[in-house]
């Protein structure tokens, strides 16, 4: 497969400007700024079929075309580098090893949107990456790609890195905007949408790191060529961060025609499961998306091969499918306990709820408590139905999608692994020392 984003990540020194430039870096800026209008860049991104890589998969070109352009009001592009969804570490890889690719994508995208000051909002824990990015920005500026009158076309652009301080919720775009304004990360009620009123009430577009980096190959090769890669509405390439019980955890660029089975077992990607253990389950798109038992992961409910793309991963809806999400691919072998994993995720969402809406604030805490009880042998049979009840009351009743994100993992775990929950309740002692058998879930 031809790599578009990570094609050069193995080249010594690619983190630095000279090497990056020698390998074709910044060509897309020359092409866009010298030969194209901002509208033409947006058009090209539309043609590419690129969908947001932050989790929701919204078409990027369409999103860009919504930005309001009131007379005399500055507009901003904000790059979402908050990356805090458990299982997801692909943006980190991109920024750490190919910082100039992101800067290049930001310049072209800022030009398309008419942003003269663009911010990268990065999670506070990625402190050393702030230094890497600021160094790359300095190099780009020293070489005339940033600053005033770039390439002599009268376009000005500055890029600043803004460091968060530990809050998953700041990955949600309106919470991110609040945080960038120096406030608590409480999501805003929409509308108004950021495209109309974003940071400092100015029209704002928030896009994921990988989305903005993908603009570089799109401009270089043309939107139509980019759209030929992949399948259906899953065009181009996608970064997947793979972790859990696999031989080769890491970040992989795939074109979205790879099957899930190939992704897990081939040496090109995850390299199979350590110690010859069997596959039990997988969360294919970051902690918020439904967990699937092995038999529904590799094949859809209809018995068709499942592929690593938006459509195929969600085939069957939430009843028998999952989602592409952020590309955080978490694999569980036969020794792993679904109840315990669900408990850690419930704890995560309770910790990260901003507390504005009661279903989310109260519900996440309640679910954590019940799951902890079941996991530690103090649960009752009725707790399982209660959990189901609570999650169903959160979903759809909150200001931002964190509520849904907290509900879905619990719902899916009960839906597919109910007998494992029941076994915990029935065998409080035994469940402390061994895990539930996997007759029904596993694929040898």
């Amino acid at each position: 497969m031809k790599k578009l984003l990570l094609a050069n990540d193995h080249i010594e020194g690619i983190r630095f400007y000279d090497v990056y430039r020698k390998n074709g870096g910044y060509n897309s800026v020359e092409k866009a700024l010298k030969n194209m209008s901002p509208e033409a860049v947006v058009e090209e991104v539309k043609k590419s079929g690129l969908r947001g890589r932050g989790g929701a998969g919204f078409p990027t070109g369409l999103k860009w075309s919504f930005i309001a352009k009131p007379e005399g009001v500055p507009r901003h592009l904000v790059c979402n580098a908050d990356e805090s969804e458990p299982g997801t570490f692909k943006d980190r890889y991109l920024m750490e090893f190919l910082p100039h690719l992101l800067i290049e994508g930001l310049i072209v995208s800022s030009f398309a949107l008419g942003s003269n000051v663009t911010y990268i909002y990065i999670r506070g824990e990625y402190a050393w990456i702030v230094d890497i990015l600021e160094h790359a920005i300095g190099e780009a500026k020293a070489n005339g790609w940033l600053g005033k009158n770039i390439l002599g076309i009268g376009y000005d652009l500055e890029i600043y890195v803004q460091r968060g301080a530990g809050a998953y919720i700041c990955g949600e775009e309106t919470a991110l905007i609040e945080s960038l304004e120096g406030k608590r990360g409480n999501p805003r009620i929409k509308p108004p949408f950021p495209a109309v009123k974003g940071v400092w009430d100015r029209p704002t577009v928030v896009n994921n790191v990988e989305t903005l980096a993908a603009v570089v190959p799109i401009i270089n090769m043309g939107g139509e060529e980019y759209a030929k890669i992949g399948v259906g509405r899953s065009t181009g390439t996608k970064l997947i961060s793979a972790c859990g019980n696999i031989n080769k955890p890491g970040v992989y660029e795939i074109d979205m025609t790879v099957s899930v089975e190939e992704f897990i077992y081939s040496d090109e990607y995850c390299g199979g499961i350590p110690k010859g253990k069997r596959l039990k389950a997988c969360i294919p798109g970051g902690s918020s998306v439904p967990i699937l038992p092995a038999k529904l992961l590799l094949k859809t409910a209809k018995g068709e091969t499942r592929y690593m793309n938006y459509e195929s991963l969600s085939d069957g809806g939430f009843a028998t499918g999952s989602m592409m999400g952020s590309g955080g691919f978490i694999v569980f072998d036969e020794d792993q306990c679904v109840v315990k994993n669900t408990y850690t995720l419930a704890r995560f969402y309770r910790h990260e709820s901003c507390g504005q809406c009661s279903p989310c604030r109260e519900g996440t805490g309640w679910m954590e408590k019940i799951l902890k009880n079941i996991e530690t042998g103090k649960g009752k049979m009725s707790d399982i139905d209660l959990l189901w009840e609570i999650q169903s009351k959160i979903e759809g009743n909150t200001i931002c999608p964190l509520g849904d994100a907290a509900a879905w993992p619990v719902a899916a775990a009960i839906r597919h692994f109910r007998d494992e929950f029941e076994w915990h309740v029935r065998n409080p002692q035994e469940s402390q020392v061994r895990n539930y058998g996997l007759a029904d879930y596993a694929l040898v």
């Binding site: 500055p74 990356e83 805090s84 969804e85 458990p86 299982g87 997801t88 570490f89 943006d91 980190r92 000051v117 911010y119 999670r123 506070g124 824990e125 990625y126 402190a127 050393w128 500055e158 600043y160 803004q162 460091r163 968060g164 301080a165 530990g166 809050a167 998953y168 945080s179 960038l180 304004e181 120096g182 406030k183 608590r184 990360g185 400092w200 961060s241 793979a242 972790c243 859990g244 019980n245 955890p249 890491g250 970040v251 969360i283 902690s287 955080g328 978490i330 569980f332 792993q336 315990k340 994993n341 850690t344 995720l345 704890r347 995560f348 910790h351 990260e352 901003c354």
Partner: protein, 167 residues
């Protein structure tokens, strides 16, 4: 006043404030709080927060609100070295529970506590974006990944040596 940035750090504050439109200096709050925490003993005392409020021409309550919302700001004193070990699902699958227990045993503290000599704080945290390199912890500005008991021993030893040198 004991809480006062050096002239170099004040330049840095001005440089940060200049990144935002006029009158929107409140946007500098998160970065300036990071700078303050690094400069004034690893935590944000009420005095430090009031100083930052004054510097950015905002009300102290606006600073307290933010300092208490974000998990990276410490509103209580912490040890010189903070071991922030991730405990979320993907790290759990790779044995973070054993690592947390081991550090606790070795330092004779529980999660959330600081050793009596003020050297180490153990904290459990949620996913830090290193799930493929688990188990892991954050230590200051860097990550320590693929942790094993031996690696933990070495890190603790390094910290003790470094602390002895600086004293």
């Amino acid at each position: 006043m004991s809480v006062q940035f050096s002239p170099e750090k004040l330049d840095k504050v001005n440089e940060i404030v200049a990144r935002y439109p006029q009158g929107k200096q409140k946007s500098a709050l998160l970065p300036v709080l990071h700078l303050a925490q690094e400069s004034f003993g690893g935590w944000l005392s009420p005095e430090t927060m009031d100083y930052v409020a004054e510097l950015l021409h905002i009300r102290p309550i606006e600073v307290y609100e933010v300092a208490t919302f974000y998990s990276m700001y410490n509103t209580k004193p912490v040890g010189r070295y903070m071991f922030e070990v991730c405990q979320t699902g993907p790290c759990m699958v790779n044995g973070c529970d054993d690592i947390i227990a081991y550090i606790g045993e070795k330092l004779q503290i529980k999660a959330g506590e600081t050793t009596a000599d003020g050297l180490f704080t153990l904290k459990t945290v949620e996913c830090l974006g290193a799930c493929g390199y688990a188990p892991m912890m954050q230590m200051g500005k860097t990550y320590r990944e693929h942790l094993t008991k031996e690696k933990v021993d070495r890190i603790i030893e390094e910290c003790r040596q470094q602390a002895a040198l600086n004293n």
